[in-house]
């Protein structure tokens, strides 16, 4: 049931994405999200899809894992695809008209763009961050990027620490949830039948023990952390140094250039680009 959760799952490797500075990767993720969301025209969408493909290939992550990150979204993908396909009103002649269904050219176009966009969003952020970034590096990077906020008393270190602990405990809690579900099933609890409300209600006997145990774990962890002299972020040093190498800056520049390209291509119709291209030779 919970086996497909890929969030916060790091797959160690030695690709260029694995080695890149996590801080740069976070900034690139933001740029990447802008690219994926801003792309409107056919060329811009193609470019953003190409960027996604490049990242996926460069990460050396197995295809099976990449598909796994998209899998939970299948319902959303199909749903948005259908909505866009049938409910986009176009200006020209409808391509298909049968009873109450009408499909316009624009409908197909919108559906395709929407699908590419959604898949890019999920795949890109998985490849850029979750799959290729060690959670500790990630939280260190967030702490470092947000550190200016410390001046206005935002508890940045505490936030980063909470996040890294949360990430560390995801597999533990998933395992525990499965155990509780099995235990409840052994006592004839029914999770599979009935309507949505019934099913949600049947999860209560799972959530209550899960919360109780999570709180108990938190208490023990707090003791263990105190025992190991934890006293907040002040005066704390780090085992690993965050280093930004020239390659990271080039990566960042390339992403920024890509973003500019996409915004530019959005404004230019395909025809003009081709004409410009012909004029070049």
């Amino acid at each position: 049931m919970l086996k497909d959760v890929t969030f916060g799952q790091y797959y160690p490797g030695d690709s260029f994405l694995h080695r890149a500075d996590a801080r740069i990767k976070i900034i690139i993720l933001i740029i990447y999200l802008v690219i994926a969301l801003a792309a409107q025209s056919a060329l811009a969408v193609a470019l953003s899809a190409a960027f996604t493909l490049y990242l996926a290939v460069a990460s050396h992550i197995k295809l099976r894992l990449l598909l796994k990150s998209v899998k939970p979204l299948i319902f959303v993908l199909v749903f948005t695809g259908i909505i866009n396909l049938f409910f986009t009103a176009g200006s020209g002649e409808p391509l298909l008209q049968w009873k109450f269904i009408t499909i316009y050219r624009e409908g197909i176009r919108n559906a395709v763009i929407m699908l590419i966009r959604l898949v890019s969003l999920v795949l890109g952020s998985a490849v850029l961050i979750s799959y290729t970034t060690n959670p500790i590096d990630l939280t260190d990077a967030i702490e470092s990027l947000l550190s200016p906020l410390k001046k206005i008393k935002v508890p940045v270190h505490e936030f980063a620490m909470m996040m890294s602990i949360a990430l560390k405990f995801i597999p533990t809690l998933i395992e525990e949830t499965n155990k509780i579900i099995s235990a409840q099933k052994a006592r004839c609890a029914d999770f599979e039948s009935g309507n949505v409300f019934r099913r949600i209600k049947s999860l209560v006997p799972v959530l209550v023990p899960l919360f109780v145990s999570a709180i108990r774990r938190a208490e023990e962890l707090a003791d263990a952390m105190e025992c190991r002299c934890y006293r907040g972020g002040e005066g704390r040093t780090k085992l690993k140094e965050m280093k930004t190498r020239p390659a990271d800056w080039i990566f960042l520049l390339a992403a920024a250039a890509m973003c500019a390209c996409v915004i530019f291509l959005n404004r230019v119709p395909v025809k003009e680009v081709f004409e410009f291209w012909k004029g070049m030779f």
């Binding site: 790091y10 160690p12 060690n134 959670p135 500790i136 890294s164 602990i165 990430l167 560390k168 597999p171 533990t172 774990r217 023990e220 962890l221 003791d223 263990a224 952390m225 105190e226 025992c227 190991r228 002299c229 934890y230 006293r231 005066g235 704390r236 040093t237 780090k238 085992l239 690993k240 140094e241």
Partner: protein, 280 residues
């Protein structure tokens, strides 16, 4: 020289609730290996937490290496000197990657990067986990996780480690690993080791056993002395090692057996002696 000194120690979690620790006077020698026994709820874990300064006494005092744990300014010195390994391996590892977790304590102490690296490598080598430095802590076995937890405490550079039922959730192999590690820390590195346990076979390995009952010390002595008092232990619902139990039963049946036999070979020798040598 005593490392931990408790004087008239009392403790309760809140003024209204029952007294968990009720007047304990205790000295733990530097470099000693002590086991603490007692049934559930007798205050063993609370005593451990008082000894490493996680809880503060409500009456009396605890001194660790000459520092009063109630001295708020030196609280971190106490915690650095006296580390603790807990029962559940999952609940005491802070980071997902083994070496990041071991680095947690030296990072908290604000040590320079090179020194942290050195301590992490050394601690992992001590518990024989060097090959797992970059592994995900979630994917290790219970015994391995617990060894990482020990390394995490060792990296702090403590003089004493308290094991609070650190083997209770492990399989027999994991338990053996941890017991071997405890022994090595004490014998080879000269660390003061205190182990709280339910396993009599583990307690036998210690130099000294402290038996607790209702928040007080019920008996205190060498394993031989403690396990000679079978009736007394049974009265506070504790068991004795199997061999000791066997000798005790034989004595009840009229065989004159010496008290305080702890190991199977010893028992075999005694039985052979009384059986008149028998055939070789």
């Amino acid at each position: 020289m005593s490392f931990i000194t408790c004087r008239g120690l009392t403790f309760s979690y809140s003024p209204e609730s029952r007294v968990v620790i009720n007047g304990i006077d205790l000295e733990i020698e530097k470099g000693s290996y002590t086991a603490v026994l007692g049934h559930n709820g007798c205050g063993k874990s609370t005593l451990a937490k008082l000894m490493c300064g996680i809880l503060l006494p409500t009456g009396g005092s605890v001194c660790v290496g000459g520092i009063d744990t109630a001295d708020a300014e030196r609280a971190y010195e106490v915690r650095r000197k006296c580390g603790m390994v807990f029962q559940n391996p999952d609940n005491q590892l802070v980071a997902s990657i083994v070496e990041d977790d071991v680095a947690f304590a030296p990072e908290n102490l604000g040590l320079p990067r090179g020194e942290i690296r050195r301590r992490v490598d050394e601690a992992l080598a001590t518990v024989d986990m060097s090959g797992y430095a970059k592994h995900s802590a979630n994917k290790l076995s219970g015994g391995q996780k617990q060894r990482v937890a020990i390394a995490g405490v060792l990296a702090m550079g403590p003089e004493c480690i308290i094991f609070d039922e650190a083997t209770a959730m492990l399989d027999p192999t994991g338990r053996q690993e941890i017991n071997a590690a405890m022994k090595r820390l004490n014998r080879e590195m000269g660390l003061t080791v205190i182990t709280i346990t339910h396993y009599m076979s583990e307690a036998v390995e210690a130099d000294r056993i402290i038996v607790m009952d209702h928040g007080a010390v019920a008996a205190d002595g060498s394993p031989r002395e403690i396990f000679s008092q079978v009736e007394k232990l049974k009265a506070i619902s504790l068991s004795v090692p199997q061999v000791t139990e066997l000798m005790y039963e034989m004595e009840l049946d009229g065989f004159a057996m010496p008290r305080g036999i702890l190991h199977a070979m010893e028992a075999a020798d005694e039985i052979e002696k009384r059986a008149g040598g028998g055939k070789k």
